[in-house]
């Protein structure tokens, strides 16, 4: 097998499908393990990984289900390998169980959800964005999560790399919430030279065995360095509430408090580092469109039509959906006459926008149950309403 440095980086220009761009992004980020289960519309990620990983010294395995896939990814990460899985709605539901284990054990890894229409088996080949709240709250208990929402194959590539880096920096599973539309779309994808790709390596302990505590977080830091199996530290990790040694501490809430608070704070208190937003035309805007993923992309055309009608409308695109950019939206809500939130679900992120806007402006939902992208005129009508224009029904 290849041991060449950067052997996995196929630098160049490609006409590439979103799912494949995801796999290539992962390989560029150093991912060398994929454990998954085929599911439309995420199957191409697995297919591509099954072909590419063996030739870059990586390991691919098709597990028996998504419960197993998520666990295999966690196991590989604890063996010191950057690991990923990719799925869609039904599989995402099964992965929720051990997404929680990954969060509790503080295991860096990446979980890609190529969203399709739901609930249940729903619309296997067609787009949806109905898993956004599941991404935030889908595993039981309290935690914080990082979720990114790409809107083009190029961005799937870029954000998959970012996801791996965030996973290592914050020692946590990171979600890439793409969808059937972007995942199955083929566009220009530029893969940069290896030396232009930022890779965050795993931070290993420097303390000798015996002194190292797997969950002791030094002052001023948010996570502990991570020893993995075989490093000689004889670590223990558990899904139970644990102390700094990693030992179960379940008799009362004395360990639960600092642990859960830190698991949340390490993400919520680093919003400035984590959150990426893209602003377009907001400087003079009377109306803001807030959206993410494919829905943000398809909002551009109705926004152009609205501008042509004299409505000053701008876009706030949530590249990072979780943690939620409360401050930016609160600020924006004080500057515009209305906010329009198109998304391919019946109104999920719009609730967060309403919460963050705190009543400072009207927030108009443009829902879609999945199975297609927004009719541009529905978004245009919502923009007109937000601007106080009359809308012919």
């Amino acid at each position: 097998m290849s041991d060449k440095t950067h052997a996995g980086v196929l630098s160049g220009e490609f006409f590439m499908q979103g799912d494949i761009a995801c796999a290539e992004g992962a390989i560029c980020a150093g991912c060398r393990f994929f454990g998954g289960y085929p599911i439309t519309p995420a199957t191409e990620v697995a297919q591509w990984m099954s072909e590419r990983l063996p030739v870059v010294g990586g390991m691919y395995i098709q597990m028996e289900d998504e419960l197993a896939s998520m666990n295999a990814v966690l196991g590989a990460s604890w063996a010191g390998i950057k690991a990923m899985t990719a799925t869609s709605g039904p599989g995402f539901s099964l992965m929720m169980e051990n997404l929680g284990l990954g969060i509790m054990m503080e295991t860096p890894c990446v979980l890609v959800n190529v969203q399709r229409g739901g609930p249940s088996t729903g619309l296997p080949t067609l787009v949806g964005q109905g898993d956004m709240m599941q991404a935030r709250w889908g595993s039981h208990g309290d935690y914080a999560i990082i979720a990114l929402a790409p809107s083009s194959p190029q961005e799937i590539f870029d954000l998959t790399i970012d996801a791996f880096n965030l996973a290592e920096r914050y020692r946590t599973p990171v979600l890439v919430m793409t969808d059937a539309e972007v995942g199955h779309m083929t566009e220009k994808v530029v893969i940069p030279p290896p030396d232009e790709i930022e890779i965050v390596p795993r931070r290993k302990p420097t303390a000798p065995p015996g002194e190292y505590m797997p969950y002791y977080v030094a002052p001023g830091e948010w996570v502990a360095p991570m020893a993995v199996a075989g490093d000689g530290y004889r670590i223990h990790a558990t899904g139970l509430t644990h102390n700094e040694k990693g030992y179960p501490a379940t008799a009362d809430d004395s360990s639960q408090w600092p642990l859960i608070q830190r698991l949340i704070d390490k993400i919520e208190k680093n919003r400035d580092d984590i959150i990426v937003l893209e602003e377009n035309g907001l400087d003079d805007a009377e109306v803001a469109v807030i959206s993410y993923g494919i829905a943000a992309r398809t909002a551009i055309w109705p926004m152009q039509m609205a501008r042509a009608e004299g409505i000053r409308v701008g876009l706030l695109r949530l590249v990072t959906v979780w943690p939620f950019p409360d401050a930016a939206i609160y600020d924006l809500a004080g500057r515009v006459n209305g906010i329009v939130v198109p998304e391919i679900n019946m109104g999920q992120i719009v609730r967060e926008v309403q919460r963050a806007a705190a009543g400072r402006t009207q927030v108009i939902s443009v829902p879609h149950p999945g199975g297609g992208i927004h009719d541009p005129y529905k978004v245009l009508d919502a923009i007109r309403r937000a601007a106080g224009r009359k809308v012919e029904v």
Binding site: F14, F15, E181, T186, E187, K188, R297, I300, W301, I373
Partner: protein, 181 residues
């Protein structure tokens, strides 16, 4: 707007999806433009109706809406595709059909129609499977979506190794047929 849209439709197994991808690839990698290729298909791997859509533009912002809505070129390689897409096709558009597989009726009235017996020409070359490449050569000759060189390069860089000669022959056959019209 200088966005160009093309839709190709046929049945699964004809290489329709692949053809759409090759047109997009030609525009992006060999003509220096931007393109978005999307596909729609049923659950069948073979025989079901399928369609490929490509939007091509000089500026990616013109591709923000990824779906093809009102194509100016429609390529039809099955009667099912004809029945589904021709009635709603814009009357100033260009309809291209595989005349060995598709029969025209009143739905095509008023349309500019160009036909090529792509499947028959491919069969004469001994490989029915290259009918879509014959069609691509024809598209290169009769449309301005991509340059012929770009499309040829895209075909040759997309086909399996060892089949380049056959595919090039198929492409040239379609191109020549189109130029003679």
């Amino acid at each position: 707007m200088n966005r160009l849209e093309i839709r190709l439709s046929g049945f699964g197994g004809q290489g329709i999806i692949r053809s759409g991808e090759i047109i997009g690839k030609a525009a992006v990698l060999y003509d220096g433009k931007f393109a978005t290729f999307t596909q729609s298909y049923g659950p069948e791997s073979r025989g079901g109706a399928c369609a490929a859509q490509v939007a091509i533009a000089d500026d990616p912002v013109e591709l923000s809406y990824p779906h093809v809505i009102d194509p100016s070129v429609l390529v039809i390689m099955s009667q099912g595709g004809y029945n589904k897409y021709v009635p709603e096709f814009r009357r100033d558009g260009l309809l291209i059909v595989d005349s060995s597989l598709v029969e025209l009726d009143e739905a095509a009235e008023g349309l500019k129609v160009l036909g090529i017996p792509a499947t028959r020409l491919a069969e004469e070359m001994g490989r029915r499977i290259v009918a879509n490449v014959v069609m691509l050569g024809f598209i290169a000759a009769v449309t301005h979506l991509t340059s012929p060189d770009a499309l040829r390069n895209a075909v040759l860089s997309s086909v399996p190794k060892g089949t380049e000669a056959l595919n090039e022959k198929a492409f040239e056959a379609g191109l020549a047929y189109g130029k003679e019209l």
